[in-house]
């Protein structure tokens, strides 16, 4: 007897309705899951734990063989060394952290100030060859920084921007603007243009309409975007190491890398500096989470 295609297909799922994951039986699956997740967590978290441990161990415990997981003497000396120089003044590392804060902060601010209006324009206006322009803007993010670092080095040398915070700020801004435009365009698209239309009919100019109506609605999106830009600038290593050399300009990533090497390496100091360096990123990441939720609910504006 001929079985129609429909029948043949429909009997398939009917025979076996249990979702694949359940088929092993609840208990066996959860044991396997927990084991895998634990292994993964250990692999991922061990370096972090080790870094934190090292940062609070005395140097002789750092080199102890076999390594001690517990029962070493806890010390905060390394953290003190991160901020205070042996002669009691400010340490080079603390200057580097300050530089990082300035460079990341200012470049993020610039990228936001430039990128948000640009995103608004791309979202609202009929721009000639809009798609091509946007693709071009995005394409500047395709290549790895190493590719352009030599030409930029040469240009910076001509312009006298080598080994200056301004130089880093400019290059980080240049890298963050495309990202800001793309991310913010998504947020602006979500805000109905009618708000601005209504404001313009109410007597405001286009810019006032943007400023008073649209911008406040974009705040969560701006926050999320800025935090991403901030993290990028904060973590950036390649340009920082190529374009800066002196201690009073250097940002934290090359400064920390600079601690390694030489005759002896103070691993306790490296670890402590790394912990201090990682903290802001963790905080920002937490903020991103919060603001990304806000950014997503922005799309819930009733149409």
């Amino acid at each position: 007897m001929a079985v129609s295609v429909d029948e043949a297909v429909s009997t398939g799922p009917a025979r076996d309705r249990t979702p694949p994951a359940r088929r092993f039986g609840g208990r066996g699956r959860s044991v396997l899951e927990v084991a895998l997740l634990t292994a993964l967590a250990v692999v991922m978290l061990f370096p972090v734990l080790w870094m934190i441990e090292t940062s609070i161990k005395e140097n002789r415990d750092v080199y102890a063989v076999p390594a001690e997981f517990f029962g070493f003497t806890v010390t905060m000396d390394h953290f003190k060394d991160v901020f205070v120089a042996p002669d009691g003044g400010r340490s080079d590392l603390s200057v580097a952290f300050l530089n990082s804060a300035v460079v990341a902060g200012v470049s993020t601010l610039l990228a936001t100030v430039l990128g948000v209006p640009a995103a608004w324009a791309y979202s609202r206006f009929a721009v000639r060859a809009k798609k091509d322009q946007l693709f071009f803007i995005l394409s500047t993010r395709f290549m790895p920084p190493v590719v352009v670092v030599i030409p930029i080095f040469l240009m910076y040398r001509q312009l006298g921007l080598i080994d200056s915070k301004l130089g880093l700020i400019l290059i980080y801004t240049a890298f963050n603007v495309p990202f800001t435009i793309w991310m913010m365009k998504g947020f602006v698209d979500e805000v109905p243009a009618e708000y601005e239309d209504a404001a313009m009919l109410d007597g405001y100019t286009r810019l006032q309409a943007f400023w008073r109506y649209t911008l406040p609605l974009l705040v969560p999106g701006i926050a999320a975007t800025a935090v991403f830009a901030l993290i990028f600038s904060w973590n950036e290593f390649v340009f920082a190491i190529f374009l800066t050399s002196s201690d009073d300009v250097r940002t934290a990533p090359p400064a920390i890398a600079g601690l390694i090497g030489g005759t002896t390496t103070d691993w306790g100091l490296v670890a402590a500096a790394s912990v201090v360096f990682a903290l802001p990123v963790l905080v920002f990441a937490y903020l991103v989470r919060k603001h990304l939720i806000a950014g997503v609910t922005l799309g819930a504006v009733r149409r």
């Binding site: 009929a126 000639r128 109905p192 009618e194 708000y195 239309d197 209504a198 404001a199 313009m200 009919l201 109410d202 007597g203 405001y204 100019t205 286009r206 109506y213 406040p216 609605l217 504006v301 009733r302 149409r303």
Partner: protein, 355 residues
């Protein structure tokens, strides 16, 4: 309030789309003027051009005595209500209403007074301290209307303001808008693709199709004498029956034997179509006087009326509107009789009304 004059409006978007081909409108002071047409015919674009939100490619727009072609929306002194209400989400109703007035820099006392007046007109009293998300769709639309009112603009533009509401609320709001418009003597341009809304609201209706005006007239004119085949097929639910006819012996004769009285002044030697409203036809017992034999194809029971789809041997089945007391079963043999006066007649090649 002011009148609005639109002359030879043409709008081509940068991507090459011609949204408005050629539109002439002349809207009287205090008139409720409805623009009706299918989706994509250029209603919104025309309205936005009047508002100044879109710059026309060519053509002139005059509001009152002012040529507004080069004026930004802010200086045209008109209010617009959008399909999406565009209420500011983090402002309370009160502040949403006050926003346009603050833009004008009016003194506080006057702002308060005008907000109170608009709130009274639109019965918003209990809603003044709520934010838009705490309002139902209908309430949001009332606030949007009130927001348009407070400024006492020279004209109101409405772009499908009721589309997002459910049927019952829509009917209520329709009455409300009509009442308000009359009371204020406001010039209002109202865009819709709902013909019931157009018929019940408009003093006059403009029917747009593909960026052109097909007809402008009162609801009655538009219903009784659609100016083109497009209008004939667009207005009415169900729309007119379009029956191909020939002139012979001083009568209009359709295939299947239907005979209609010709209107005076019919041109000769042209391919003609007669437009017959479903209520101008009648389903009778077979063999009734003046009827042609026909067969019921299907029956739509609408409660207060019955729509019969009838095959009388013509090129197309015709639709007949009958009171619910006259009942025939599907497939029944019946008679079909024309009871209305002279039908409207169109030329097939020009698609326009000839008599």
């Amino acid at each position: 309030m002011a009148d609005i004059e639109v002359k030879a409006l043409h709008k081509r978007y940068p991507d090459g789309t011609v949204a408005v081909d050629h539109v002439d409108l002349s809207i009287g002071d205090g008139e409720l003027f409805v623009m009706l047409g299918p989706s994509g015919c250029g209603k919104t674009t025309t309205l936005r051009a009047i508002a100044g939100l879109e710059r026309q490619t060519t053509g002139d727009i005059r509001i009152g005595d002012t040529l507004v072609n080069d004026l930004p929306p802010a200086e045209r002194d008109i209010a617009m209500v959008f399909q999406f209400y565009a209420l500011y989400p983090h402002l309370k109703t009160r502040d949403n209403l006050a926003f346009p007035l603050r833009a004008e820099g009016l003194p506080k006392a006057e702002v308060r007074e005008r907000v109170a007046e608009a709130a009274r007109l639109m019965r918003l009293g209990p809603l003044l301290d709520r934010r838009p998300r705490q309002l139902s769709g209908g309430e949001q639309q009332r606030v949007a209307l009130a927001r348009a009112l407070v400024r006492r603009p020279r004209a109101f533009l409405m772009d499908e303001p009721l589309t997002n509401l459910d049927a019952e609320l829509r009917a209520d709001m329709r009455t409300e808008i009509k009442h308000l418009q009359g009371e204020l003597g406001a010039t209002m341009v109202y865009v819709t693709h709902d013909q019931v809304e157009a018929m019940s609201l408009g003093h006059r209706i403009a029917i747009l199709n593909k960026g052109r005006v097909e007809q402008i007239g009162t609801p009655l004119e538009v219903y009784d004498r659609p100016a083109s085949l497009f209008c004939a097929a667009f207005i009415g639910s169900p729309p007119m029956n379009l029956i191909e006819v020939e002139v012979a012996d001083g009568k209009l004769r359709g295939q299947g034997g239907l005979v209609l009285t010709p209107p005076p002044g019919l041109p000769r030697d042209r391919h003609l179509v007669a437009g017959v409203r479903p209520e101008a036809l009648e389903v009778t017992e077979p063999g009734a006087e003046d009827s042609v034999p026909a067969r019921v194809v299907s029956v739509e029971w609408l409660g207060d009326e019955i729509i019969y789809v009838v095959d009388h041997g013509g090129q197309r089945d015709v639709r007949v509107r009958m009171p619910p007391t006259v009942r025939f079963a599907a497939d029944a043999r019946v008679g079909l009789r024309h009871t209305g006066g002279t039908p409207v007649v169109y030329d097939v090649s020009t698609e326009e009304l000839v008599a």
